[in-house]
């Protein structure tokens, strides 16, 4: 199970970084979302991976660590708010600046040979 989770995190990070480097606001927003998914799964797995165990101490012989679950919950809420803000900001920038490049202009592209 650990191997699969690790591969999944790696894949998500790979896609996230690739999309962020696209330098267009919509792919960047998607990339950041993928990156934060990867981080969330990573945080979750930092409490060690177990299946079918309660996150409560004392009800059974073994239990899963509840702290990372609480951390992930907080991280998800914050990440959601930040993504919403980024999307609104990107739309505003596209309308006012007339481009979806993260630099706010297409100049670099034209100068390239």
């Amino acid at each position: 199970m650990e191997l699969w989770i690790a591969c999944a995190i790696g894949g998500l990070v790979f896609c996230g970084v690739y999309l962020i480097l696209r330098a267009r606001t919509f792919p960047v927003a998607l990339g950041l979302t993928l990156l934060s998914y990867a981080i969330n799964i990573f945080l979750f797995s930092m409490g060690r991976l177990k299946t079918g165990q309660p996150a409560v101490i004392g009800t059974s012989a073994s239990y899963t660590d509840p702290v990372p679950q609480a951390l992930v919950l907080t991280a998800i809420v914050i990440g959601f708010a930040m993504t919403a803000f980024l999307l609104i900001l990107s739309l505003r920038a596209y309308v006012i600046l007339g481009t979806d490049h993260v630099d706010g202009s297409e100049k670099n592209k034209q100068e390239a040979p």
Partner: protein
Amino acid sequence: MSHLIVVPFILPLMIGALLSWVKDERISLQRNISLAASLALLVVALLLLSMAEQGGIQVYSMGNWHAPFGIVLVLDRLSALLLATTAMLALWVNFYALAGDDQRGRNFHALFQFQLAGINGAFLTGDLFNLFVCFEILLIASYALLLHGLGAERLRSAVHYVILNLVGSSLFLLGAGLFYGVAGTLNMADLARFVAQAQGDERYLLQAAGWVLLLVFGLKAAFLPLHFWLPRAYASATAPVAALFAIMTKVGLYAILRMTTLVFGGQTGAAAGFGLDVLFVIALLTMMLGALGAFAAGTLHSMLAYLVLVSVGTLLAGISMGSEAALTASLYYLLHSTWGIAGLFLLADLIAKQRGKLKGIFRTGAPLLTPARMGALFFVGAVSTAGLPPFSGFVGKLSLLQAAQGMQQGFLWVTVLLASLVVLLALSRAGSVLFWQHTGAIDEHARFSTPAFVSAVALIGSGVLLVIFAEPVLAFCQASAQQLLQSELYLQQLAGE
């Protein structure tokens, strides 16, 4: 356990929430509440300062859950000092905004208070994950504040700023997660104990987590090569926002200081030989680059933004030297640079308002409406920032230079003096273009606002006060540095609670 400790975090948070319910049409009500809250914050911060002065380190357990299981706020001399610095800055910036800048967009006062809540929370928390949450509070408020007043240039810099900080937040979680995965705790004092005892593979994992966090804090503090967002963002922000942001880079530096003196403060385990040498080199490079940037800048605002980089480099140099004398000098320099740069940002805005379309661009233009007042204040601010006697910059830089030892001495002296020279040249060029070279008549839209000018005078004038009261201030800074370096006391205090 005094409940006063939690007030600097709770008060702005509640006032911010309250202010977001007050409609923007009732601006005078908003202004009164906001100014009263900033005043109250200053009073609380000063009370906490005297509390920290008297009785060691104070711990506040949220909901009475004790560390390391509960969340704690910790008040030591360093956090009290930074709270007071922030509160003083916030009061004058708030006062400046009342001159009209708060009406250039919506919800300025609510966002301002949320930003303060985040900053104060970051200074108080004794828990890594809560540090993350406070960072996010101050960041999301800063995103909106950076956009205050809108306009193409602000949007451009905000897109960069927001995306970079979102990546930074992800990395922060990665670092915090690694720490939890290895040590099973997020309380900074508990982490420190674990780090000092770590063996084998755990050592490398903990150091990796430490480096990831240093990267994140470096992004906030804007040292080389993570500084690219800063000049553009600070130069394009509205004046009160840019002035408030003067404390933002210090939040990153504060976190670095906590990392190097507390979490990796020991001499054994994973803490041995962590990071300081690398940080020293980075600090010198940042200082030099900031000075050159200031020299090359084409507008007053972007020159000031590069001066922020110079101060970040200087502070980081002090932190990375790590001795008691160096930390004392850094803390003193932190007070000086925060208030001084913030005051200059406010002054730059006042100057720009009198130069018509040219604003802060360094080009011959219309004469100023009130050249004598502006010029005199600019002169004081410039002399203080460049580090010439008799103002506070001189005292700060001198004590930093005296603190250097061994190999570091040569490198630090050369870099600091060279950077100061370049900054001095840049500031003199700016001053002569702005105040001496002019053509034509005074711009007809030029105006002068006394309350706004008073705020700038108060912040830049702090450079004079810091010299007059240099002895008690330096004594407090030294006591803070001592307390920081005796991290065993911090650990005992948390264990005892």
